[in-house]
């Protein structure tokens, strides 16, 4: 257990879609994160892949406590986050930060780049002059020219905006970064630069990353371990290379197949498209099935067999450091 920066247990979050303010009624419920247990080791890059809507962003937001969990516990560096008030959360916010997919909208358009980067420092009472100096250091660190920091975000390209967002996230010297598809909206050539920068910073500053992407190929380039998400649940967890080279869960195999196919065609966007199709397919069939029982992937799984419809598989330990939520990998002694 030692060496874990973050320990998540039984995390659950569902969103209610409501109509009306005075007579409020629930018109739909989405379980975005469903009973997730996850350890993130200090100093590792944990990749998280899954189709759009599989709950990757929600998982990260829950860990950062940007949204409240319905159930479950989050432990960060030995401190229980669940139930902390805004005030109690403040010092911990220094240690965990977020980088978003859309670099332009993650910066305040009416504040200069300098003001955007300084904002977190000023929140924590750093004197203005000191914040300014630190801002210049940060911009240099992410490969930007601090003398241009009087400009507005619109004057920068997408890749540069992402560098600024990274600089802002690092302003408070965090230990943990939640990177929510940080390169997904960038050109392929820029992607490589940003990934390199992130890797470099991670090693230099000894950071821990939760790196989310819908593209297993990108996650494999950067992450030490990878977790595969589907409909709010973790389906597979293991060494990134192993998950990529020999996927075990039927969903991962299918998901990976789309990526390989797409690699041949040379267009990585299609991977996301295909993954969304997989999500939709299953969501449609799931509306008829009882949502609480059985494997979440049963509706689309080619290998489903008897227990799949009635019993929800937990993460079974398939090999030493490989966990798969599928009845095919249930240990023979049926450990209970």
């Amino acid at each position: 257990m030692s060496g874990n920066l973050i320990e998540v247990r039984g995390l659950k979050k569902s969103f209610q879609v409501t109509r009306g303010a005075i007579l409020r009624r629930v018109v739909g419920v989405t379980t975005a994160v469903d009973n997730v247990d996850l350890d993130i080791k200090e100093g590792e890059i944990l990749g998280c892949v899954g189709g759009s809507g599989s709950g990757k962003s929600t998982l990260g937001r829950l860990i950062l406590r940007l949204i409240e969990a319905d159930e479950g516990r989050i432990n960060f560096a030995g401190r229980e986050l669940t139930g902390l008030s805004f005030k109690q959360m403040c010092p911990l916010r220094r240690e965990m930060q977020i980088v978003f997919q859309d670099p332009l909208h993650s910066l305040n358009p009416r504040r200069t780049v300098a003001e955007n980067v300084e904002r977190p420092l000023l929140n924590f009472g750093v004197p203005r002059a000191e914040a300014r100096g630190r801002m210049a250091e940060l911009l240099t660190m992410v490969g930007l020219d601090p003398t241009q920091s009087h400009k507005y975000p619109h004057e920068y390209s997408g890749g540069q905006c992402q560098r600024i967002a990274i600089a802002r996230a690092l302003a408070l010297r965090p230990r943990f970064l939640f990177l929510d598809e940080p390169v997904s909206s960038l050109d392929v050539s820029i992607q490589a630069q940003i990934l390199k920068l992130l890797l470099d910073l991670q090693q230099r500053l000894k950071l821990t990353f939760l790196f989310v992407s819908h593209d297993l190929k990108i996650v494999r380039q950067i992450a030490h371990r990878t977790v595969v998400m589907y409909r709010g649940r973790l389906l597979e967890l293991g060494d990134s290379d192993a998950v990529y080279r020999s996927p075990m869960h039927p969903f991962t195999k299918n998901f990976l197949g789309t990526v390989l196919h797409v690699r041949k065609g040379g267009r990585w966007e299609l991977a996301a498209q295909r993954a969304e199709d997989l999500e939709d397919l299953n969501r449609q069939s799931a509306t008829h099935a009882a949502p609480q029982a059985g494997c979440v992937y049963a509706g689309a799984c080619a290998e489903r067999f008897l227990p799949c419809a009635s019993e929800r598989p937990p993460l079974f330990r398939a090999t030493d450091d490989r966990w798969v939520a599928c009845h095919l990998y249930r240990p023979p002694q049926a450990a209970q």
């Binding site: 005075i22 009416r110 100096g133 967002a165």
Partner: protein
């Protein structure tokens, strides 16, 4: 821990010299468009007239020159003519500009001051916002002028009551503009980034979001001033606003209505003045929209980068 060749001091002094504020963009954005520049100049002149009326007006606005009643523009000593009570129209226009601006602009400013926080808070707390906006919907059921008339009639005539009636009428419209802008704005990732950096809710609302949302309200306010000036004039016309003999362009227009055939200038001149005022505010409003939008405003100032080094 972090290394970098550039010291903070150098970077900061340069940055402070070159930071472009909203005011900078408004100044150069409005200034680079000749039509908007003319309109802004006109509003300034009107303001000056309003302030300097007692000094520059040739006559007392209520002094009667009975022998010259109904004389057209061009009469010696009375370049814009004389009205049905023998009062000098130029003097009345000059004196009336202050009252007209007050009745048209003050309700809009007060309305914006109320609407901006209301819309922001409503967008931030969706349940509260839903309730507030449903209440506003009740107000939307009435045409703006009718509501103002009803309220003014209910509260009784007078300048203050008219301004209050106009504020109540305007708040729902402006709040809807702010609410819509803020609802969109709060979805953007920079708001979540601010939350991740432990920014308190109020600071997010009034430091991060306010400048982005207020721009929408300022632009909207500028374009609605025209309608408010006309509504205020209408209320005065109906005897619910400013009371005669106070000089106000709306009253002046209405007072001349019995003489439209024999002396059309009595109504026409204040009518033209209102039209010009309304047009000027609309033009400035359009220019403001461009210079407050971070996407378009860079284009407006790009050709003059030398200004700030």
């Amino acid at each position: 821990m972090v290394d970098g060749p550039v010291t903070g001091k150098v970077a900061s002094s340069r940055r402070r010299a070159r930071r472009r504020t909203n005011l900078y963009f408004v100044w150069h954005g409005v200034g680079s468009d000749p039509v908007a520049r003319g309109a802004a100049f006109l509003i300034l002149v009107l303001l000056l007239c309003a302030i300097l009326a007692p000094v520059i007006a040739p006559f007392d606005p209520n002094a009667a020159h009975n022998a010259l009643r109904l004389q057209p523009p061009g009469t010696p000593g009375h370049p814009l003519g004389v009205d049905h009570q023998g009062r000098d129209i130029l003097s009345r226009l000059l004196h009336g500009s202050g009252m007209t601006l007050l009745a048209g602009v003050l309700p809009v400013v007060l309305g914006a001051v109320i609407s901006i926080p209301l819309g922001l808070v409503g967008a931030w707390y969706p349940r509260l916002g839903e309730i507030v906006m449903r209440l506003m919907d009740i107000v939307f059921a009435f045409p703006m002028a009718l509501l103002a008339i009803m309220l003014a009639a209910f509260m009784g005539p007078g300048l203050l009551n008219m301004i209050l009636a106009l504020v109540v009428t305007l708040v729902p419209y402006n709040t809807r503009v702010v609410y819509a802008a803020a609802t969109q704005e709060r979805q953007l990732a920079y708001i979540e980034a601010a939350r991740a950096a432990a920014t308190p809710d109020l600071k997010i609302l009034f430091v991060e979001m306010l400048p982005n949302v207020a721009a929408a309200s300022v632009v909207y306010s500028c374009t609605i001033i025209g309608a408010v000036v006309i509504t205020a004039a209408g209320l005065s016309f109906l005897g619910l606003g400013v009371q005669p003999p106070i000089a106000e362009w709306g009253i002046m227009t209405s007072e001349g209505r019995s003489y439209l055939v024999n002396a059309p200038h009595i109504s026409a001149l204040p009518g033209i003045a209102i039209t010009v005022l309304v047009l000027a505010f609309n033009l400035v409003g359009d220019a403001l929209r461009d210079s407050l939008d971070p996407q378009t405003r860079l284009r407006l100032v790009r050709h003059r980068p030398h200004l700030f080094g």
